[in-house]
């Protein structure tokens, strides 16, 4: 209060902030980036530890013996799958029943808004089969889920085999206090979506599915298994779910703890953990792992079948078997023992997993960065916006002196109008970007030699580009804009961006940070006085669409699968179509966020650049 109300000190503070505004902004930006890069440095991170008491202290013994038999079942499943040309429903029902489960099926169908060329599907029809192992020791109010996808081709047969093997083994144990649901879902996420909606009696995406005939208690945790070979070299843990949501860190801890105990190689983002954190290569390895996690989280899409569980407060993760040409191999029995151990610990849970963190980044499986450590990186970037806004405000208002005259009213009526028009027009462009691609696909297909998917993506790109040409002419015309009108617009735009990025970073830190990384410099430097051509080029480079393009290349680079420019471009197009599909199918929020809010906000800055 003293600082704010004492005019002398306030004046000193203001003059300091206005004089040093640009250097402070540059320092903040560098500090923000440096802080973020520092997060991967091992001494700055915390070791993971089990917070949940019920899972930590109790010992369990894993005795699952029947790995070979499970693989045999998997081969049988694969044969029946080939014969049925899809999900072998009858065989699965019979097999599950013979293992003593209560078996039910669910049919679902869904027409995609446009054909998905990556997975080659448009009209999707399928069946989920699930069996419930009723808990012998407790009222059946809680449940755990183990799922395996029934994928086309030869994928994931072993996963179904292990699932059925575990079902048979679990059936003979008496200590289960929670129902265990064994689910084989068809059409990966679409099937999972149908099953979850059916289980929870919701219908958020307008999908057709038949109601579930049998139900367990409320689901506490879920694991999804992906296994495509008889032996694996390592198990990979996938955590990123819909809209960048992550499961409770205890689930990752549990997986890590059992991998250590049983002696299985475990990875996250497909990267093994290294012990040489003090060497350059060790550090860059950790940075790569963390960057991969950040990019996956920022994409907002579910990276495994577990991704949709998180929406229903269910902690879930996908465990993926990876088979590479290494010496070290793990067989199906060991994987079964690992899963058995995890389920027995989850079975001990007395309440939902909530003790550990929900907001974290993982530079390796044994280390994590919690929200308190990574938020300052974003905070430093957001601070730039606030400083710029403060600077603009001081420029607009009369410098505070002794007179008590109110500052000249900033929002005189032409001022309001000159701000309102660009705001409205850029948001209308955003609405067009959001609605037109899907609505215009038929017209586009009629008139141009493209497929539906290409039509959607190309329309989106066309609208995006057209938006650049449109709004910078709007404020001429009706009236003479007031001198300094752009400052008012910039003040509004900077504050808008700050609030927008802040909210985004809270929901999905990675997305907020990546957007801040590219949009904050734009917001900080753009004025009508800078050289037009160069600044326009820089602004386009830093626009959301180009950010996405760079992210695609960077992602491939980090995964050690670099692509040529042409392949990268094709990948970019497919990423856009996947983004739109994710929104339509699962309700991912990234596409509407970018189209309706981020892009219009960027257009405001574009508008300022061309202010006359």
């Amino acid at each position: 209060m003293g600082l704010l109300s004492d005019p002398n000190r306030r004046r000193a503070l203001i003059s300091l902030l206005t004089r040093l505004n640009a250097p402070i902004c540059v320092v903040c930006y560098m500090a923000g980036v440096a802080w973020f890069m520092g997060l991967a440095f091992e001494p700055f991170t915390l070791r993971t530890y089990m917070s949940e008491n019920a899972m930590g202290s109790t010992m369990v013994e894993e005795r699952f013996p029947a790995g070979e038999r499970a693989l045999g079942t998997g081969r049988e499943f694969s044969a029946h799958k080939k014969k049925a040309g899809g999900m072998p429903v009858d065989w699965l029902v019979k097999t599950m029943q013979s293992r003593g489960l209560e078996v039910f099926t669910q049919r679902f169908s869904r027409r995609l808004p446009f054909p998905d060329e990556d997975k080659e599907r448009y009209m999707v029809k399928g069946t989920n089969v699930y069996g419930i192992l009723r808990a012998p020791r407790a009222p059946r109010t809680e449940a755990l889920v183990l799922s395996a996808p029934c994928s086309p081709g030869d994928d994931n047969n072993q996963a179904v085999g292990v699932l059925l093997g575990l079902a048979q083994y679990f059936r003979n144990q008496v200590f289960w206090a929670k129902d265990i649901i064994f689910l084989v879902n068809e059409h990966d996420l679409i099937g999972m979506q149908a099953w979850l909606e059916g289980y929870h009696h919701t219908n958020t995406t307008g999908m057709d599915w038949s109601p579930l005939q049998g139900r367990g208690g409320s689901i506490q945790a879920a694991l999804s298994l992906e296994l495509s070979s008889d032996v694996v070299t390592s198990l990979d843990l996938v955590l990123e779910g819909l809209n960048g949501q992550l499961p409770n860190l205890d689930l990752a801890n549990l997986f890590y703890a059992f991998c250590q105990k049983i002696g299985v190689l475990c990875t996250t983002q497909g990267k093994l953990q290294r012990n040489d954190w003090d060497s350059v290569s060790g550090y860059s390895h950790a940075v790569q792992t963390m960057m991969l996690m950040v990019m996956k989280q920022a994409s907002g899409r579910p990276w495994g079948d577990h991704g949709l569980f998180l929406r229903y407060h269910i902690e879930a993760a996908t465990i993926k078997g990876i088979n590479s040409f290494r010496q070290y191999k793990t067989d199906a029995t060991t994987i079964g023992r690992l899963l058995e151990g995890m389920y027995r610990k989850l079975n001990n849970l007395l309440e939902r997993l909530h003790q550990s963190y929900f907001f974290y980044l993982m530079p390796s499986l044994s280390h994590f960065v919690s929200i308190g450590y990574y938020m300052p990186a974003f905070g430093l970037l957001a601070l730039i916006l606030l400083l710029r806004a403060l600077d603009l405000w001081i420029q607009l208002a009369t410098p505070p002196t002794f007179n008590l005259n109110p500052p000249p009213s900033q929002m005189s009526s032409p001022g309001v109008l000159s701000v309102l028009t660009p705001l409205v027009i850029s948001h209308l462009t955003g609405v067009a970007l959001y609605t037109l691609p899907i609505h215009f696909q038929e017209i586009a297909v009629e008139h141009f030699p493209v497929s539906e998917t290409e039509a959607v993506v190309l329309t989106a790109i066309a609208v995006y580009t057209a938006g650049l040409a449109l709004p910078h002419n709007t404020h001429r015309g009706l009236f003479v804009p007031p001198f300094n009108g752009w400052k008012v617009l910039k003040l509004v735009a900077v504050l808008y961006l700050a609030v927008l990025l802040g909210c985004t970073a809270l929901i999905n830190f990675s997305l907020g940070f990546i957007l801040a990384l590219t949009l904050v410099p734009v917001a900080a430097f753009v004025t009508p006085d800078v050289p037009k051509a160069l600044s326009a080029f820089i602004m386009v480079i830093l626009s959301p669409a180009c950010t996405l393009l760079f992210s695609v290349f960077l992602f491939q680079e980090l995964q050690e699968m670099p692509v040529s420019f042409l392949d990268g471009w094709m990948l970019y197009l497919s990423v856009i179509s996947q983004g739109i599909l994710d929104h339509a199918l699962y309700g991912s929020l990234v596409y509407p966020l970018v189209a309706l809010l981020v892009y219009p906000c960027w257009l405001l800055f574009w508008n300022i650049l061309f202010w006359k």
Binding site: S5, N8, I14, W393, L495, L506
Partner: protein, 433 residues
């Protein structure tokens, strides 16, 4: 001046009507920021249903509005939307008229003071000119009607809009100098939500000033007037409460409305300060802290009344702001009501206003986000939401104290001259400590 006001009213009503028809209305009426357990429309509907069944609307601990409100909506339930829009319009018009009237008085006073050469020469620029004052009533009305907070609470059909209308009518009748109506509306406002009780002092001060009765504890005329006002106020309060009793046929409503406001049994999160504390507290400290928290609302009346004894209208608005911060179930509608004066107060340092409005803006955006993370995503928890609530309230308190400071500074300059000199002749500055 009537034409712009009419236009403004039309715009405001159109916006509200459009929002009522959109799908947003349902979403808004569920938000905890907009409706409280006291004012939620859903609960009024429940109360009506119980009343229709011949059961006391207060059975079942859902409905907590006053009996007059439920009987009002007993007749008007089909026209609820129009009623709420009308309430907003009445509030705006009442504010418009009262500010206009108050401006006239300010000018008269200023003229006398000028003629008597009471102002120092160098602060002529502080003196209000008719031109800059002309649009203030309209601005105040606009600020109330087009404020997103007001619009939200109107669209949610929060009964807080009706309370605001009653308070606005109270302000109007007080400024017009009508003692009886002022007492009646004040008692109605008190009947609705206890807290306006604190406005009593301000109203008394204003009416005394208007009738040229000096505030002197030894004068009979002072006590006589206070007794008159108290009699009218308590009498009408008694009549209203008695009327409620006869309408309802039982005293159920007393514990259910006033007990509910004072003892805060419903700890649904809202933008106030109560819920988090009382959810965490040990049961045997509850009574003590309840008293501490509730005293906050009433406590500031005495010092503020003494300090602002010459400026009762400013006092009214300070009190409203204090109520909206410290009441037990605040909603954004209350805050909107407390903002209205701020256009009128002389502007404080522009930097502070900027910071505070940034914080308020950010908080308003963060409320739904953190609510989503806490309730739907399950990844954040109540601490996140409460942190924002705290920040929001701190910003409001800063805003209020800022205006208070600016007001005091203006008064100081008016009496001591604009360019203050220290004893040694250097420029001096005013510091709030």
């Amino acid at each position: 001046m009537a034409a712009p006001l009419t236009l403004l009213l039309l715009v405001a009503v159109t916006v509200r009507a459009a929002l009522y028809r959109s799908s947003l209305a349902d979403l808004i009426s569920e938000r905890v920021e907009v409706v409280s357990p006291l004012t939620a429309w859903k609960r009024v509907v429940e109360g009506l249903a119980l009343l229709d069944l011949g059961v006391s609307p207060y059975s079942g601990d859902v409905f907590h509005e006053t009996p007059l409100i439920i009987y009002l909506f007993h007749f008007l339930v089909d026209y609820a939307e129009i009623t709420f829009m009308l309430a907003d319009v009445i509030t705006a018009v009442a504010l418009y008229l009262s500010v206009k009237d108050y401006n006239k008085q300010v000018f008269r006073k200023q003229k006398y003071a000028l003629e008597a050469d009471r102002y120092p020469l160098d602060c002529l620029e502080l003196i209000r000119s008719p031109k800059e004052m002309q649009y203030i009533p309209l601005k105040v009305a606009m600020f109330y009607l087009l404020n997103p907070f007001t619009i939200l609470s109107c669209v949610a059909k929060s009964t807080c809009g009706l309370n605001n209308a009653v308070i606005a009518l109270f302000v109007l009748s007080t400024i017009k100098g009508n003692v009886l109506l002022s007492a009646i509306f004040l008692s109605l406002a008190t009947y609705q939500s206890i807290y306006p009780l604190t406005l009593c002092a301000a109203a008394l001060l204003y009416l005394l000033q208007r009738q040229y009765i000096p505030v002197n504890l030894r004068r009979f005329s002072f006590w006589w007037f206070v007794a008159q006002y108290a009699f009218m106020y308590l009498g009408s309060l008694f009549v209203i409460v008695g009327l409620s009793f006869f309408l309802l046929g039982s005293w159920d409503f007393l514990p259910s409305v006033y007990g509910f406001i004072l003892s805060v049994p419903d700890l649904t999160p809202n933008i106030g300060l109560f819920w988090y504390f009382f959810a965490e507290m040990f049961e045997h400290f509850r009574l003590f802290f309840l008293c501490v928290f509730q005293i906050n609302v009433f406590f500031y009346t005495v010092p503020l009344s003494i300090k602002l004894k010459e400026h009762p209208v400013f006092l009214i608005f300070m009190q409203l702001a204090v109520i909206s911060i410290f009441k037990s179930y605040p909603t954004v509608g209350d805050i909107a009501a407390s903002f209205i004066k701020h256009h009128k107060a002389s502007s404080a340092s522009s930097l502070n206003i900027f910071l505070v409005s940034c914080v308020l803006l950010a908080c308003s955006a963060l409320f739904p986000v953190l609510w989503h993370l806490w309730i739907y995503a399950g990844s954040a928890n109540s601490n996140f939401y409460y942190a924002i609530t705290l920040l929001f309230n701190v910003a409001q308190i800063l805003l209020v104290s800022d205006y208070f400071y600016a007001f005091l500074r203006r008064e100081h300059h008016l009496s001591h001259g604009l360019y203050l000199k220290r004893k040694d002749g250097s420029e001096a500055t005013l510091v709030l400590k």
